[in-house]
């Protein structure tokens, strides 16, 4: 399967292990519950370990350990699921996580919002391909408000513009 990382289509390196599948080899994600229970047993594991967050999972349990994680995957199991946007924002802005945040079950109509909140990798839902997802990023390029993307608040941008205009006006008089 192909995924999108930083807007580029790439081969997927990760597998997402159900709780009863053993951790044997390669880069794997495990559920938050399993990771809390077993994390010490992963010391010395040959591949990378990532954690999967369900929409209802609280970040608090994970926060002290985010630096060491290879990936945090957010599950979007429904078209209308919205908690992952806040989870991503908080992981980036509040907890300083700089590794990959991956949306599982991404849809073309969501990736623009997801990316702005700090999600940088996207695994498409079964009905869409990575190529189709790419079409969703730039459908609307005008942005009014900052999120993780640090777009300046629209009123600041305009206020700055007005000041620049005034300065220009004054110097030309």
């Amino acid at each position: 399967m192909s995924v999108i990382i930083n807007r580029k289509i790439q081969d997927n390196q990760w597998s997402h292990l159900p709780d009863d599948d053993p951790v044997v080899s390669g880069d794997v994600t495990v559920s938050l519950g399993r990771w809390i229970r077993d994390r010490e047993s992963y010391d010395g594991y040959g591949g990378r370990i990532g954690v999967r967050l369900s929409p209802g999972d609280a970040l608090d349990d994970l926060v002290p350990f985010v630096d060491g994680l290879g990936l945090i995957a957010l599950e979007f199991d429904k078209f209308t699921e919205g908690r992952g946007y806040s989870q991503a924002y908080l992981l980036r802005e509040r907890h300083g996580f700089q590794g990959e945040i991956r949306a599982l079950g991404a849809r073309r109509d969501h990736v623009m919002y997801m990316e702005r909140c700090g999600i940088d990798a996207f695994e498409p839902a079964p009905q869409e391909t990575a190529g189709q997802l790419l079409g969703g990023f730039d459908e609307i390029t005008e942005r009014y408000q900052p999120s993780h993307d640090r777009i300046p608040l629209i009123f600041r941008k305009r206020a700055r513009g007005t000041r620049d205009e005034l300065d220009l006006h004054e110097t030309s008089v």
Partner: protein, 581 residues
């Protein structure tokens, strides 16, 4: 410089810049693509539903319904003409103003909707976030900027919230819809305690501007009066505080049950103190990180300057001349209209004109395209090119010079827009009901008509005085029945349409939810029951007492006794409207 000049002559409302215009155009193109993908089978019904809702498009009983945003109810004449043209070209020649100051079309074809949205975008309008589980159109006081009791014009803050919340990356997929209202008056005319977030413009002791913040109010299945979460929020922190509330709600609001997903349920479940604590912690974290959402005077000014009132207080030469109106007072039709449909303006040269959309035989809030054009023309000639819609489903011309008032009345009257019934029993709020809406349990328009017919004499209506009658076809409460002095709720009783009456609701500063009068009534008994309720009031009111005051003094029992004549009091149960129906 020429741009500055044109701005000064433009309507005193927010004027789009290139960014705003580009955004609505991109949104239209995006939706056009989504419609194509749906028709090609790339999107399922359920998926497309979520996308169309966020562009105002519902699928209703007979057809699609398109809800167009009128931000805080403010329109220019040009925009009104476009609304009229759309109703003729794509609909059945009329539109319906809603209780959230928007307009709805009941008959558009799906294939036409992208074109309709483009026509709207061409006049700086859109249907973004008028539906779906996201932050909805911000509503406000329809007398903003012209009310005598105003502390500050709330509309710049409405517009700031509109832009901040439009296509918000984090809050576009909330547990449930989210409604924000802002008032700037001493009297609350925006029902802020019945919104997910209600804001009142206030100043602190140092005269610093800010807001009182209310949270978790709402109507519907679980009507709740909002709770004060912050007595004073400095103005510069408006957006960060809203964002903190939204973030807590987005993460913790219930998503397993549609009926328990509004923020009011979360606030009630954890308690206002705990909710307040969580919001404050989140907010403090945001402030500590450097507040990217801060709005200082320069930022506010980029929006506020659009709303500035540059009219001379006396309206200019001879504006206050009311001699013509005084002579016309001999005409009782004009005098009735002047007394009931016009209000005092903050400036003596002007009056505020209310246009009733509750004429006889018309569904409340409905307006024909010819009337839309007429209102646009009248506003252009006499009221600074500006029209407002109200949450009571009427329109307002806010800047009519005293000297022009007779002419405005004659023009309105010509088009059936001078029904002199503002704030009377017949000025009722009403959702579209079972005739149009697939959620409704019962019809509302037929009941409204029965009540209209029962109280068809103006002298009788005027004798009754102010009564807020509000009716919804189901408990989603689009007709705000919970806060009607008299509320009527359509219910389904074994497949039959029945109606539950409530008394004593109010959306003003003394916010209260109406109390159930008794068992529900069949449709044909509703108008009779209203008449009995009114008769109790007339019989027992004290001098100068409004219906709601008499109710507050007497309680519900006397009204109940008259509507449901109990068996032990009377052997002849036909006296009871229940039995007579």
């Amino acid at each position: 410089m020429s741009e500055l000049k044109s701005r000064m002559t433009a309507v005193a409302m927010y004027q789009y810049d290139d960014i705003d215009r580009s955004l609505v155009n991109q949104r239209v193109a995006q939706f056009r693509g989504q419609v194509d993908r749906y028709l090609n089978g790339e999107l399922t019904d359920d998926e497309f539903k979520q996308l169309r809702l966020r562009n105002g498009l519902y699928l209703q009983r007979h057809a699609h319904m398109l809800r167009v945003a009128i931000p805080y109810g403010l329109l220019s004449s040009g925009q009104m003409r476009t609304l009229g043209r759309i109703s003729e070209k794509y609909d059945h020649g009329y539109g319906h103003f809603t209780t959230r100051q928007n307009i709805q079309y009941n008959w558009p074809e799906l294939k036409d909707v992208p074109d309709i949205l483009q026509e709207l975008a061409d006049v700086d309008m859109h249907a973004i976030q008028t539906s779906g589980n996201c932050i909805r159109n911000v509503t406000s006081d329809h007398l903003a900027g012209v009310a005598k009791d105003e502390i500050e014009d709330p509309r710049p803050y409405c517009e700031i919230i509109r832009q901040w919340s439009s296509l918000h990356p984090e809050f576009s997929w909330l547990p449930r819809k989210f409604k924000i209202a802002v008032t700037g008056g001493e009297r609350d005319r925006a029902a802020i305690k019945f919104h997910d977030i209600g804001l009142r413009v206030v100043t602190d002791e140092q005269r610093e501007p800010g807001f009182e913040v209310w949270v978790g109010g709402g109507m519907g299945r679980t009507p709740v009066v909002g709770k004060l979460i912050r007595g004073f929020l400095p103005r510069r922190h408006l957006l960060s505080y809203l964002e903190a509330i939204l973030r807590i709600y987005n993460l913790l609001g219930r998503r397993d049950n549609l009926h328990k997903a509004r923020i009011k349920i979360l606030v009630n479940a954890v308690g206002i103190d705990e909710f307040h604590g969580q919001v404050e912690r989140e907010w403090q974290n945001m402030l500590a990180a450097g507040e990217s959402l801060e709005i200082g005077p320069a930022e506010v000014e980029t929006v506020a300057r659009h709303f500035r009132d540059d009219t001379p207080p006396d309206g200019g030469e001879r504006a206050s001349d009311s001699s013509r109106a005084d002579r016309w007072m001999l005409d009782t039709r004009f005098a009735d209209w002047h007394r009931h449909n016009t209000l005092e303006h903050k400036n003596p040269g002007y009056r505020i004109v209310m246009i009733s959309l509750k004429g006889p035989g018309v569904a409340p809030g409905d307006i024909r395209s010819s009337q839309m054009y007429a209102v646009a023309d009248i506003a252009e000639r006499f009221s600074r090119d500006e029209i407002r819609s109200t949450h009571e489903q009427n329109l307002v011309l806010a800047y009519v010079k005293q000297a022009d008032i007779v002419e405005v009345w004659r023009e309105l009257d010509k088009h059936g827009l001078a029904t002199p019934n503002i704030d009377t029993l017949n000025d009722m709020i009403c959702c579209p009901g079972l005739d149009f809406c697939s959620l409704a349990n019962a019809g509302t328009i037929n009941i409204a008509r029965q009540i209209n017919e029962k109280f068809d004499r103006l002298d009788r209506l005027y004798g009754i005085g102010e009564v807020k009658l509000k009716m919804s076809g189901c408990m989603n409460a689009c007709g705000h029945h919970d806060v009607g002095h008299i509320g009527i709720l359509g219910v389904d009783k074994r497949g039959q349409e029945w109606y539950q009456i409530t008394l004593g609701g109010r959306a003003d500063d003394a916010a209260a939810i109406g109390k159930r009068l008794g068992p529900s009534l069949p449709g044909e008994a509703v108008a009779d029951a209203i008449e009995r309720i009114i008769n109790v009031y007339i019989g027992r009111r004290k001098e100068g007492e409004r219906f709601i005051d008499t109710y507050a003094r007497l309680g519900i029992q006397p009204f109940k006794d008259q509507v449901y004549v109990s068996h032990h009091k009377s052997k002849d149960s036909r006296q009871s409207v229940v039995a007579s129906a």
